[in-house]
């Protein structure tokens, strides 16, 4: 049945093009650091608007979109490509078809995304939220997405493993949705739909990036690594399918919840709110499955860094899943929309959940990719705690700031706008501290991975047969 076990997989290790995956992940590491640095610099500007002087390339608006695209596309998407090139061969039992195409994808993605990022600083933003790269970057990006999607499809068509494991569902669907969605959001919508319709469809695009790209990629990783690491079969396969269909059915409808109370048709907004409620379902199915799969393996939490990150991500996913539906309610929107509350939510999901899960996966596969054991457990520990503490600081201050500003603007009268800015500026200062810790955590991680590849102890018989004790 649907059991992906370590034993079944390790025999097929040679189907993975290790160099390719390594390259992808290295490139993702670069954007992880640069993207987060962009975030920290932006956050300093909240308290010191004159920070970095008056250079157009480093103006607030430009750095802010540089940060967002740097982490969403530079880091997460690049890592997802790498992970797909790892998981798809493992789950199909064959090498990727057209091995050269993989390199075309990885290289051209590296070049194109770098150009995209630089063009944002140079002032060529397209003005589409989460799709700011200009149109001449969007065209090759769409082609790259189409290429890797096709490649995955053909690999699956030729697969040796009869069963299509749930991760493959998420991967293929996620890649297909995203190819279509990227074209729709970046090449069609901004040029053919005006005003209110443009906003509605852009909400749809934006939410499909988070719901039909980042979420399925992260979920695919979770469903893959959870059973492999714990050596337990997935708790319930049926549940994972329910989650998948819930996602496919409800996510696309939620787009308009980004523009509630705007001139977008009220019934569209109402559907968006209702389907936001329904999203509890796919989230809970993932969480239930995770908890179920951990059964009897909770002791690994103290010794395995990958398990730590996986469980932490799940805890944050539970919070996301309560927060998202509540904040879609109209009464809640009055207060928290347009405030830092939403920024806190976005980081909770993308950083707190999916970045954590990606890290869990990388900690697990890095020794396989490099043939060396993780260089330093101390650094992994620092990575974990800096990320957790830094993020807790950041999330709490953002939510606090959102409530304070939203309350002042919407519940009190006679408040000058600037007074709300002054009221939350201490929160922003603390947020910078949190963000810096998060970045340091990521730096520990990247350094650790780099050193592993260079000087880590070689993987030996002991490591393979007795992984648990070696890899803390």
């Amino acid at each position: 049945m649907a059991v992906v076990s370590e034993k079944a997989i390790s025999q097929k290790e040679e189907v993975v093009d290790k160099k390719l995956v390594r390259m992808s992940l290295y490139y993702a590491f670069v954007w992880l650091l640069v993207g987060m640095l962009g975030g920290v610099l932006t956050s300093i500007k909240f308290n010191y608007p004159d920070f970095l002087g008056y250079i157009p390339w480093l103006a607030f608006g430009r750095l802010r979109v540089f940060h967002l695209n740097g982490v969403a596309f530079g880091w997460f998407t690049t890592a997802a490509f790498g992970m797909a090139y790892y998981m798809v061969p493992k789950l199909t039992g064959i090498k990727m078809v057209w091995p050269k195409v993989s390199y075309v994808v990885v290289y051209s993605w590296a070049v194109v995304s770098t150009i995209g990022q630089i063009s944002l600083l140079a002032g060529y933003s397209q003005g589409v939220e989460v799709g700011e790269w200009p149109v001449w970057v969007d065209v090759p990006v769409s082609m790259i997405f189409a290429l890797i999607t096709t490649q995955i499809f053909f690999t699956i068509a030729n697969r040796k493993e009869k069963h299509i494991y749930v991760s493959l569902w998420y991967l293929t669907a996620g890649f297909t949705w995203s190819t279509i969605n990227y074209v729709l959001g970046n090449l069609i919508n901004p040029y053919f739909f005006a005003g209110v319709d443009n906003a509605a469809i852009q909400g749809f695009y934006l939410h499909s990036v988070v719901g039909l790209w980042i979420t399925p990629m992260g979920t695919a990783m979770l469903y893959y690594f959870m059973p492999v690491i714990t050596k337990n079969p997935v708790y319930s396969h049926k549940l994972s399918m329910i989650g998948f269909w819930g996602l496919a059915l409800f996510y696309p409808f939620t787009g308009a919840h980004h523009y509630l109370f705007s001139p977008i048709d009220t019934w569209v907004q109402t559907i968006a709110i209702m389907s936001s409620m329904m999203l509890i379902m796919p989230v809970w199915s993932v969480i239930t499955n995770q908890v179920g799969t951990m059964k009897g393996k909770w002791h690994m939490l103290s010794s395995h860094i990958e398990v730590k990150f996986m469980v932490l991500g799940a805890v944050f996913y539970v919070i996301t899943c309560f927060q998202g539906p509540t904040q879609a309610l109209r009464s809640m929107q009055q207060i928290i929309h347009f405030t830092d509350w939403v920024v806190g939510h976005a980081h909770l999901a993308i950083y707190g959940v999916f970045t954590m899960w990606t890290w869990a996966g990388i900690y697990y596969i890095w020794p396989k990719l490099t043939g060396r054991q993780i260089y330093s457990q101390k650094l992994s520990g620092w990575h974990f705690w800096l990320s957790l503490v830094g993020f807790a600081i950041m999330a709490l201050t953002l939510w606090g700031a959102g409530l304070v500003q939203g309350g002042m603007l919407n519940l009190e009268s006679n408040v000058a706008f600037i007074d709300t800015v002054k009221a939350i500026s201490p929160f922003w200062a603390v947020r910078t501290v949190g963000g810096t810790l998060m970045m340091l955590g990521a730096a520990c991680f990247v350094y650790n991975m780099y050193m592993t590849a260079k000087v880590g102890r070689l993987v030996d018989e002991d490591f393979v047969s007795n992984r648990q004790e070696v890899l803390v």
Binding site: A194, N198, P263, I264, F417
Partner: protein, 298 residues
């Protein structure tokens, strides 16, 4: 058997992708084609249906710059029918007002105030002074200084009296925002004089003067200068110039009493950069700042 499952699974995947299109057509494409949002017509503030005019070339350039600098990251562009929105920004936004927007700039965060009804709220001079140096206009602002939309003075500083073509275009776009519904700030028939309540001035105390100083330095000094001489950092861009309080002369009316100044503060001075303060300063703060303004007279 295996082939059957494979094609079954393929069909299921097709269904998954189909759901995306299903949602797109029901929730987004259908309203786009049938709800007629893109008809450039709105109800003006008097309730008549009027046409919205397209952007001029200059405004188009202005919007492109608005997008280039990602102003929409900090400024939303729709007034909601809830909360403090209407009172703070003006009439609720209507679909027709956006009919010419490719792409839209609704925004999702208000790090600064909503700009949907910004047009006509301030004079061009105020806008230029603010664009080059927001902190001079609003103490404590965190908006960046967009100095590269101005020619440079000898000393390398931005000259707020000489915006570049792009700077002019940006402000022309800002001044157009929300004006499709007519001049709603100055409804016909009502005198711009505004306040109907004739306020009577309290007696000024040293305590009030002290509080007034704080209010003045935070809100007024950018234009009127710390010394009250009308030479604040933003003054150069303004016409008419901010009042020089050291002369002790006023216009509205000449020999304005404290209650006249109170009214001026409430409604601002139309046709000048002098803003209305009724929504951002309490009555007590307004009296306090007047008591402080009176102290400048030599």
């Amino acid at each position: 058997m295996s082939n059957v499952t494979t094609s079954f699974k393929g069909a299921m995947l097709g269904a998954g992708v189909g759901l995306y299109f299903f949602a797109f057509f029901v929730g987004y494409a259908y309203p786009a084609f049938f709800s007629k949002h893109d008809v450039p017509k709105v109800k003006d503030y008097k309730g008549n249906i009027v046409a919205v005019r397209g952007y001029t070339e200059q405004e188009k350039l202005g919007k492109a710059i608005y997008i280039r600098e990602n102003c929409w990251i900090c400024h939303s562009q729709f007034v909601r029918p809830i909360g403090g929105d209407e009172k703070r920004y003006g009439p609720v936004s209507q679909a027709g007002e956006y009919a010419y927007d490719f792409p839209h700039t609704f925004g999702t965060r208000r790090i600064g105030p909503d700009l949907a009804r910004e047009g006509g709220k301030r004079t061009d001079g105020w806008q230029y002074g603010h664009l080059a140096n927001p902190q001079a206009m609003t103490q404590g602002s965190i908006m960046p200084k967009f100095v590269w939309y101005f020619e440079k003075k000898e000393d390398g500083e931005a000259d707020i009296t000489r915006p570049t073509e792009e700077g002019k275009a940006l402000i022309s776009y800002i001044q157009r925002l929300g004006t499709s519904i007519g001049d709603w700030r100055n409804p016909e028939g009502e005198k711009a004089a505004g306040s109907t309540v004739a306020a009577s001035a309290p007696t000024f105390t040293p305590q009030m003067v002290k509080e007034g100083k704080v209010v003045f330095e935070g809100n007024c000094a950018g234009c009127h200068g710390l010394a009250g001489n009308g030479q604040g950092p933003a003054a150069a861009a303004l016409n008419p110039k901010p009042r020089n309080f050291t002369e002790g002369k006023f216009k509205y009316p000449v020999n304005a009493k404290d209650s006249d100044l109170f009214k001026t503060l409430e409604i601002g001075v139309k046709g000048s950069a002098m803003p209305a303060w009724k929504d951002s300063l309490s009555e007590a703060q307004r009296w306090a700042v007047i008591s402080y303004v009176r102290t400048f007279k030599k």
